[in-house]
Structures are given as structure tokens and as C-alpha cells.
């Protein structure tokens, strides 16, 4: 099951992140998790939210270069080695991880957001190995 993530191109300039968050706030988009990675000049802000379509549309309208990407939200039991087990499956199936970050929801179970190389194959792999994934609607 894939989830929709908003990816926004962001220059390394004072106030840019605030500008993006302003747009999301004004449109009532709640951020569930995010990751910001950067080079010296620019970065990519990746956002899991309750309303990805609306958030993307609002950011595009505000002039940001952004898109919706398909990622997996994979449930990870709160115990040592759990993440390692999942990553082992991914690498054993010859899939690549493009990026990954934690999803901050409360409770006993943690989740990670993973972008893999081959989306369809990854979907099958997760099903085959009974690794639970969530869609963004599950997060509401």
C-alpha cells in the first residue's frame, strides 16, 4: 500500500521553510511527519500529511516546485532489530532505498517512511513478507 508524500524544492534561504509551512497552515493541512535534507544550496522538504492532494495543490498555486511522490509507510515494531529485519528483506529482494525517515505518531508502534527503487515490486515484497504498510488515509 503506497502513501502520498508532498516533496517541495526549497532554496537554502532564510524564511523559505516558514513560507512553505505558512501555505500548509492556511490550507488546513496537518503535517504528520517531515524530513528536510539539503545540499549547500538547496534542499528537498518531504511531508506526510493528512491532505496530500490539497497541500500539493496549494503549494503549487503559491509558486513552489513540488510534487506528490509514492512512498511506503512501513510499521516497525518497537523492539531492537525490527528495522534491521525490514531492511534485510528489502536488500535481499534487490530493492534499493532512496531515502527513509521516521514517522512520528504516538502509541506503541513506530513507522518509517521509505522510498524504494521499484515501487510495484516493493509492494509485492512487503505483502509476501507480511510487512504492514499504511496509506496516508490510515493516518487521519
Amino acid at each position: 500500500m503506497v502513501a502520498k508524500q508532498i516533496t517541495v524544492f526549497i532554496e537554502n534561504r532564510t524564511g523559505r521553510l516558514g513560507d512553505i509551512l505558512d501555505v500548509l497552515k492556511e490550507n488546513g493541512v496537518n503535517i504528520i511527519s517531515m524530513s528536510l535534507s539539503d545540499t549547500s544550496d538547496y534542499g528537498l522538504l518531504r511531508v506526510i500529511s493528512d491532505k496530500p492532494q490539497e497541500g500539493k495543490a496549494a503549494l503549487s498555486a503559491a509558486g513552489f516546485s513540488c510534487m506528490l511522490s509514492d512512498v511506503f509507510i512501513v510499521k516497525v515494531p518497537h523492539e531492537p532489530g525490527a528495522l534491521q529485519n525490514i531492511l534485510r528483506v528489502i536488500s535481499d529482494e534487490a530493492l534499493g532505498v532512496e531515502y527513509m525517515y521516521g514517522l512520528s505518531v504516538g502509541g506503541d508502534e513506530a513507522s518509517i517512511v521509505v522510498k524504494t527503487s521499484d515501487l510495484e515490486k516493493a509492494n509485492e515484497v512487503f505483502e509476501k513478507h507480511k510487512i504492514e504498510t499504511l496509506s496516508d488515509t490510515d493516518l487521519h
Binding site: 516533496t7 524544492f9 532554496e11 511522490s69
Partner: protein, 433 residues
């Protein structure tokens, strides 16, 4: 020392020589170059209409665009067999400006450069290190032949690797430096960083600088860096006309003497094309009156200057042009390389992932020019690899076309300023005016 007797002719003698050469050149291009014949026919002017020097204004102008339109050899007045050398300047996308020399042209060129080297104080005793890029550009080889002719020992060290340059300079006892003013300053800076004092540890007595404007401020900085007694003169030229050697400064520092028995100068109003009287500021137009391969007629240099005809205290009587005071177009000089914003625009437009807007920023870091091009991203992506690919593709393409490394700064759409009238896309932040 004055190298050639033509540098001290009386005005009447010079004008007689110029008229003879002009008439001969116009007749030859009319016969040999169909492009010129067509242009002259269109203006209704025949070679025999050139009876005095002032008849020059009847002739059509030549522009860089004419050179592009006739690429590569359409303006040449000799068969290709007669050429012994071909150079090209970066010009524009894909099509450089091509120049060719016959054996006679190389002799003329050498003579021109020998004259300006002598004006700057060079003698046969000098060890001359040439820190211009050898290759398709005319700068290095032009200075090379002219200095060799007067008997100086040439060190063709070319550009780059400043520490090695300094090693040669010290070990070979280089006395004469050929470089752009900014590279001359950069070399002094590197020397100091490596624990040398250029004033005492190196033996530079003469600096012939060119390919870039030598401002008073830079001349002063050069004296501070290289010593008060170093003779610093600037020289001027462009590949379309010949290369370096069109004009050069003498030790009186009162303008650059034009080798006007070879290059007939005029000053025009760049808007109307009208010829302006001596002493007025305008665009420099040059007619090559003693060139065989590529004798350009009324070539518009786009450089803005003034001309003075009074004899100089140095003994030369040739016309002098003032240090350049700008351009009548938007050309930039970056690290000695000619850059037209249009070239950058073409690259930006050719990359689908970029929007059409851009901004060019030129800064000076230490003594080195730095070029940054800000562009807007026109593609949504979730991948750094993709962003880097776009950045690298843009940088590589610019490098091919400009011959310069630029920093690319990707921006969000709609971040760069939009212009309703004339776009101001260039921010030249270098403090050199």
C-alpha cells in the same frame, strides 16, 4: 625604443599611406569577397568612390553577426590554401568567430606586437613569461611571436597552476610578465601565500597586461603587489581584427597608440552610426587596411573610447585611444574571457528542466572573477540525483560555450525578478570601474 618607422610618420605621411592601403583593400574585398561586394552594391558604393580618407564613411559596417552569417570563411579574401594559421574565439553557441592568417598577416601581427612590447619597455634582454591561455585564443601566440621577434626569451607557461608559474618566474629570472591584470594580481597573492614577497623575491620589471580592462585602481594595486618601479602598460586588440597588437600604451601613460598604418580607426555614435569628430567619445570602428586573409571593413568593436591625434611625448605620432570606458553592448569580461549574456540565455533556454528566466552574478573573490547563474527549476522532482543532473548539465553546457566554469544556483519558480521593460539580468558586483 621605437620599433617601426611607421610609428613616427607625420600626419600627412600617415594619411597618404592609409589612403593607399585603404583603396587597395576596398578594391580587393570588392573583387574577392562576394559578401562585401553585395553589401557595397546595396549601399551603391564602388571601390573608385574612395578618393579620400573621409570617404571611408561611405562603406558599410561589419559586425560580429556578419562573421557568424558567413561562418567559417565567408569573409576571407584569400583561398584557404594561402592561410597558415586559423584561430577562433568562443563567440556564440556552436559557432565561434573564425579568423585566419596568411604568412604576410603573421608578419604584420608580429610587427604590431613587437611595437607595443617596445612601447611597454621590453628589450631583447627580457625573459618573458606568457600567462595567457595558448590555444584557439589569439592572446598568447600573438604576444609570443612579437616578443620573440624583439629577442626576448619566451616562457610559454600559459594559464593555471599558479605555484608552478611562480617557480618558473623565480628560477628562470622572468623579468617580463604577460597576463590579464586580475591574473597578475592573483599571482602576487599566491606568491605571498607561499611565503614570497613578489617585490623582492621575484624579478618582474615589466608587465604587459591585456585582454581585460586595466583600471587606475588595478594599476595601483599592481604597483603595491609587484613594486613601484615595475613598468605596467596595457594593450588592446581583438581576434576579429588580428589579436593583441591593435594598440598599446607607452610609458607616458596617456592612452594606447593605435598601429594605424594597419588599423584605421573611427569613432561613431553607436545609435546612429554617424562618424564623430576627434576627441569625442563613442564606439570604436576599425578598418583593417593591411590584412590579406580577413580584411574587415569598418568593424564595430562595441568598445567605447575617444581618439587623440596630438603627437605623444614618447616620440610616436600615431593616434592614441583612451583607456576603454565601457561597451556599447552588454558584453562582460570574466577572467579575461568575453561573455555575452545572450550565450548564457541560449544555454538556459536549451535545458527543458529550467524556466526561461535567469540572473547572472559576477563577483570578485580575492583577485578571481566568479560567475554565478541563477535559474528557475521547471521540473518537479523528488530526487537529489535529478537536481544534480540538471545542475551539471547546465554547468557543462555553459563551460563548452563560454569556456568558463560557472556556479549554477537552482531556484524555485517565480523567484527571479520579472521585467516589463528592458531586462536587467546582470549583477556585476566587482568593484572595478
Amino acid at each position: 625604443m621605437i620599433w617601426s618607422k611607421e610609428e613616427t610618420l607625420t600626419r600627412a605621411e600617415m594619411e597618404a599611406l592609409q589612403l593607399t592601403r585603404l583603396q587597395e583593400t576596398v578594391k580587393r574585398v570588392y573583387e574577392k569577397v562576394p559578401y562585401y561586394r553585395a553589401k557595397m552594391d546595396e549601399k551603391g558604393v564602388k571601390p573608385e568612390d574612395i578618393k579620400t580618407l573621409s570617404d571611408l564613411s561611405k562603406l558599410p559596417f561589419t559586425t560580429k553577426q556578419d562573421m557568424r552569417d558567413t561562418y567559417p570563411f565567408g569573409l576571407f579574401a584569400v583561398p584557404q590554401d594561402d592561410l597558415v594559421r586559423i584561430h577562433a574565439s568562443s563567440g556564440t553557441t556552436g559557432k565561434p568567430t573564425v579568423v585566419g592568417y596568411t604568412r604576410g598577416d603573421l608578419e604584420t601581427w608580429t610587427d604590431c606586437v613587437s611595437r607595443i612590447a617596445c612601447m611597454g619597455g621590453a628589450t631583447s634582454k627580457d625573459v618573458a613569461q606568457i600567462c595567457f591561455g595558448y590555444g584557439m585564443f589569439t592572446g598568447a601566440l600573438g604576444l609570443h611571436y612579437g616578443l620573440e621577434k624583439i629577442g626576448a626569451a619566451i616562457v610559454p607557461s600559459s594559464t593555471g597552476n599558479s605555484e608552478k608559474q611562480l617557480m618558473y618566474m623565480k628560477d628562470f629570472k622572468t623579468s617580463l610578465l604577460v597576463a590579464t591584470p586580475s591574473y597578475a594580481l592573483r599571482l602576487a597573492e599566491v606568491a605571498r601565500q607561499t611565503g614570497m614577497d613578489p617585490k623582492t623575491d621575484l624579478g618582474i620589471k615589466i608587465a604587459l597586461v591585456g585582454s581585460e580592462l586595466l583600471t587606475d585602481a588595478m594599476r595601483e594595486e599592481m604597483h603595491l603587489a609587484w613594486g613601484r618601479d615595475v613598468l605596467i602598460t596595457s594593450n588592446y586588440g581583438m581576434s576579429e581584427l588580428m589579436g593583441p597588437g591593435v594598440s598599446g600604451e607607452c610609458l607616458e601613460h596617456c592612452g594606447m597608440h593605435i598601429n594605424e598604418d594597419y588599423f584605421l580607426p573611427e569613432i561613431i555614435d553607436s545609435e546612429t552610426g554617424e562618424v564623430l569628430p576627434a576627441g569625442e567619445k563613442g564606439e570604436l570602428v576599425i578598418t583593417c587596411i593591411k590584412k590579406e586573409g580577413l580584411p574587415l571593413i569598418r568593424y564595430r568593436t562595441k568598445d567605447v573610447t575617444r581618439l587623440f591625434y596630438e603627437p605623444c611625448a614618447c616620440g610616436r605620432t600615431t593616434c592614441r585611444m583612451e583607456n576603454l570606458s565601457g561597451r556599447s553592448d552588454d558584453m562582460l569580461k570574466i577572467r579575461g574571457v568575453n561573455v555575452f549574456p545572450g550565450q548564457i540565455e541560449e544555454v538556459v533556454l536549451s535545458i527543458a528542466e529550467l524556466g526561461p528566466h535567469y540572473e547572472i552574478i559576477v563577483e570578485r573573490e580575492g583577485y578571481t572573477d566568479k560567475l554565478t547563474v541563477r535559474v528557475e527549476l521547471n521540473k518537479e522532482t523528488d530526487s537529489f540525483a535529478e537536481l544534480q543532473r540538471i545542475e551539471n548539465a547546465t554547468r557543462n553546457k555553459l563551460k563548452v560555450i563560454l569556456g568558463l566554469d560557472a556556479k549554477i544556483r537552482l531556484e524555485s519558480p517565480n523567484t527571479l525578478q520579472r521585467f516589463e521593460g528592458k531586462a536587467k539580468r546582470i549583477k556585476d558586483l566587482r568593484n572595478v570601474k
